[in-house]
């Protein structure tokens, strides 16, 4: 035994002399990470991505990305003798004639849905806790770009099998490309190698799906994680946690165990779902034929918002300069998603400009304490949600006996009304929670014990909150909104860029509106003093009445 240990030790020693492994590991394995369940959301996305890479490799062994016409002679009876492309035929082969093929295909597709959903939930956590603030803006952009790239990658995967559903999806994308003014038609011919659908698209998409985009995603994931290491992880406010430290557990052994275990949980849940629940039953859709379509032709959920916008948009079209300008497709499918992505990626810079906050932040905000940011986030989710729901309007109409026309009008009006309502109500929720925090600090928690005083008055006894809770509430930072600049300085010289500065100050006022100020130390002291005075007075009163004072009053 000791011989083996000695030999292994010697071998490792030799490796150490040549590779900088030990020194690097020694430092990084002891790196401290804070602990919270919401810090694992990104891990779900990471593990889904690993599952996608593993299952994707298996699928490439059997998939033939070719649009050559073949006649199906596999084991799925309802399609025997039907002409189709080799791509679809080989996808059917994976589903029915390759051992474990259907399970792997379903794992791959469910993992793709998990990947996109987990990235989004992870982004919500980052946004609502303000984790995107300096110095992490660049990582926010990488993350946001990964969602966009993941969306394209997912769509490419959805389109590869060349079944009826994916063909309809590609047809819509071809229409979107064509709608781009002036260059649309040229772009379409460039992408498809001629008229839609042609015979080039699937081989091209395949290279895009299995080589180019996974490479970009892998590099982005690496950079994303390196930056998390470099910036150190943010932490929630709590006792002993400051902007200058990180309170938590070391990477090894705590997080290696937790993360390793969580990987198997994610893999297990994905495989369980894939073994029990059908996804993308390509055999039921049939091969893509341009003159066929099925009711309920939808993209996967993460593209649903584009489809929803397309379905809701009025049919505007104009013709000038010898071109047809398809506003009805260009605006909802190119301009709107472009604006949404730009707003998303630019948000950290916009917020820092509006608040004038240029400091580094390693301590997370509680969502209630950044009420306007939280409300803007909720508003954005509501906007996105209305579009996603409209993307499924025909399914909703059929399932709930509604009129699809009325649902379209609901979206057309609701897209302008629902998000502002969500903003206002979220803001009220945050204000209510801020007031409650202030109340808790000043007067403590309502104990539910009602005391009747000798002179007939009823009072409820408040118990002070724990020090941990106090530390959390006291983490609130109150930033004053930027002052509206004077038109001229003291020498009567006009302020340069006055209009811009005024807008910035107004936005700043909007951002910090209705903020419930954190009570100062003096206020807390005064409130405690007041409580004790009242209680002392009552205790004396009770003593005078010859009764035993309840113990709660002595605190």
């Amino acid at each position: 035994m000791s011989v083996i240990v000695k030999e292994v030790g010697r071998a490792l020693g030799r490796a150490d002399e040549r590779l900088p492994v030990a020194s690097g590991l020694k430092k990084n394995l002891r790196k401290v990470f804070p602990d919270h369940w919401s810090f694992m959301l990104g891990e779900i996305a990471l593990y889904s991505f690993l599952i996608l890479l593993l299952t994707g490799v298996y699928l490439t062994i059997f998939f033939k990305p070719s649009m050559t016409d073949v006649v199906y002679h596999g084991s799925y009876q309802p399609l025997v003798g039907v002409p189709m492309t080799e791509a679809y035929s080989s996808a059917l082969g994976i589903s029915f004639d390759v051992r474990g093929g259907l399970l792997i295909r379903q794992i791959h597709h469910w993992a793709a849905l998990f990947f996109m959903a987990a990235m989004m939930v992870h982004m919500f956590r980052i946004f609502f806790t303000g984790a995107f603030r300096k110095p992490r803006e660049f990582n926010w952009i990488i993350g946001g770009s990964m969602i966009l790239i993941g969306l394209l990658e997912g769509f490419a995967g959805y389109s590869l099998p060349d079944d009826l559903l994916s063909g309809v999806g590609v047809r819509i994308v071809a229409g979107i490309v064509e709608s781009i003014p002036i260059v649309g038609t040229y772009l379409l011919f460039f992408i498809f190698g001629g008229q839609y659908p042609g015979t080039d698209f699937i081989p091209r998409l395949y290279t895009f799906h299995v080589l180019l985009v996974p490479g970009i995603l892998l590099a982005s994931v690496g950079l994303h994680l390196v930056l998390v290491f470099y910036h150190k992880h943010t932490q929630y406010p709590g006792p002993g946690r400051t902007n200058e430290n990180v309170v938590g557990f070391p990477l090894f052994p705590v997080y290696t165990a937790k993360a390793g275990g969580f990987f198997f949980v994610v893999f297990g849940v994905t495989v369980l779902i894939s073994a029990l629940v059908t996804i993308n039953p390509i055999w039921a859709y049939g091969p893509y034929v341009p003159d066929q379509v099925t009711a309920g032709s939808q993209p996967d959920w993460y593209i649903g918002f584009v489809d929803g916008a397309l379905r809701a948009f009025p049919s505007w079209e104009s013709q000038f300069w010898g071109h047809t300008w398809s506003w009805n497709i260009f605006l909802p499918c190119v301009v709107l998603p472009g604006l949404m992505v730009t707003a998303l990626l630019a948000y950290p810079f916009i917020e820092s400009w509006v608040t004038g906050d240029t400091g580094e932040h390693h301590l997370l905000d509680r969502p209630r304490n950044a009420a306007t940011r939280t409300s803007l986030g909720a508003m954005a989710i509501a906007f996105y949600g209305v579009l996603v729901i409209n993307g499924a309007n025909d399914i909703i109409a059929a399932a709930f006996n509604l009129s699809i026309n009325q649902l379209t009008w609901f979206t057309r009006i609701g897209i302008f009304i629902i998000p502002p309502l969500v903003f206002l109500s979220t803001h009220r929720f945050c204000m209510g929670l801020q007031r409650r925090d202030r109340e808790l600090l000043l007067h403590g928690r309502e104990s539910g014990q009602i005391l009747r005083l000798p002179h007939g008055e009823f009072i409820e006894i408040h118990t002070p909150i724990s020090d941990d809770q106090k530390a959390v509430i006291l983490s609130k930072r109150d930033i004053a909104p930027l002052a509206i600049p004077a038109a001229t300085d003291q020498n009567g010289v006009a302020t340069p860029g006055l209009a811009g500065k005024k807008i910035r100050a107004k936005l700043s006022g909007f951002f910090f509106q209705d903020n419930v100020a954190r009570p100062s130390a003096a206020e807390i002291e005064a409130a405690h003093h007041h409580a004790h005075e009242v209680h002392d007075h009552e205790i004396t009163e009770l003593h005078e009445a010859g009764k035993q004072a309840p113990s709660q009053l002595t605190d």
């Binding site: 309802p78 039907v82 987990a118 559903l165 275990g261 039953p281 039921a284 099925t294 399914i395």
Partner: protein, 260 residues
């Protein structure tokens, strides 16, 4: 009157149009097969029973002589197949006017339905109820039925025959409970918003192939597991955001929980 003035007379155009229509109509009737427009033979007793049922259950909307009214179309010439489809699926008699007649519990017995069908068929020639051999699928090609189904049916009834939405609250119903006879009758008569697929545009052999494919849809086990209603990616998206992400969030909370 010169020939020119005859040609220019006000009524000439109308007369020529009418003459044209009449000759075309007669010619068309002469060359058209009468196979699907035959009036089936029925006993006088059955016709009387059917007439009685018609007066009680149908005449309010369709008129005492089945001539139609503002509340319902004329039934003269719709044939026995239309009556059998509408009544045997519970769509007729209608409970309340709406965008579309919904399927509900069947009101009449099989005998009553055939009497009613015979009565309506006696009013004018129309498609008759398909026989057992008409709907037999033994010689039909399953894969051909699939191609025909995806070309003609899937755009409204969805790829798995689960139904779908049409405009203004109308819908294509699910085919999961339809019998082969009802499928055949639906294609023959085009009920509600469905187009008519008569034997000219879709020969009986093709109808039988489609019926074979739909029967396969009704009976087939989903190879991939739970089919989530076969509504496509929407239900898959709902599943991932509820059960899927829900399970992983629960696991994250569990792993992240502080041990005390």
């Amino acid at each position: 009157m010169t020939s020119t003035s005859v040609r220019r007379h006000k009524a000439t155009g109308l007369v020529v149009l009418l003459a044209g229509l009449v000759t075309t109509g007669i010619g068309y009737a002469a060359v058209t097969s009468t196979a699907e427009a035959s009036v089936p033979q029925a006993s006088q007793g059955q016709l009387d029973q059917g007439h009685q049922i018609f007066l009680e259950g149908c005449a309010t909307c369709h008129g005492l002589a089945a001539q139609g009214s503002s509340d319902g179309p004329s039934l003269i010439g719709v044939g026995a197949a239309a009556v059998d489809f509408q009544v045997s699926t519970g769509r007729m008699p209608l409970a309340a006017p709406d965008n579309q007649a919904p399927q509900k519990a069947v009101v009449y017995t099989a005998d009553q339905i055939s009497a009613l069908a015979a009565y309506v068929a006696s009013l004018g020639p129309g498609p008759s109820i398909p026989s057992a051999s008409d709907v037999s699928t033994t010689d039909a090609e399953l894969a051909e039925g699939g191609v025909l189904f995806r070309t003609n049916c899937a755009q409204c009834h969805n790829f798995a025959g689960r139904g779908g939405a049409l405009s203004d609250g109308k819908y294509a119903p699910s085919m999961m409970n339809a019998t082969p006879t009802q499928m055949y009758e639906a294609m023959l008569t085009g009920p509600q918003n469905m187009p008519v697929f008569n034997d000219k545009t879709m020969p009986p052999a093709q109808k039988q192939a489609i019926i074979k494919y739909i029967k396969n849809l009704q009976q087939a086990q989903a190879p991939g597991g739970l089919a989530l209603g076969s509504y496509g990616p929407v239900t898959e998206g709902v599943f991932i955001w509820t059960a899927g992400i829900g399970a992983l969030l629960a696991a994250a909370v569990w792993i992240g929980a502080k041990v005390r």
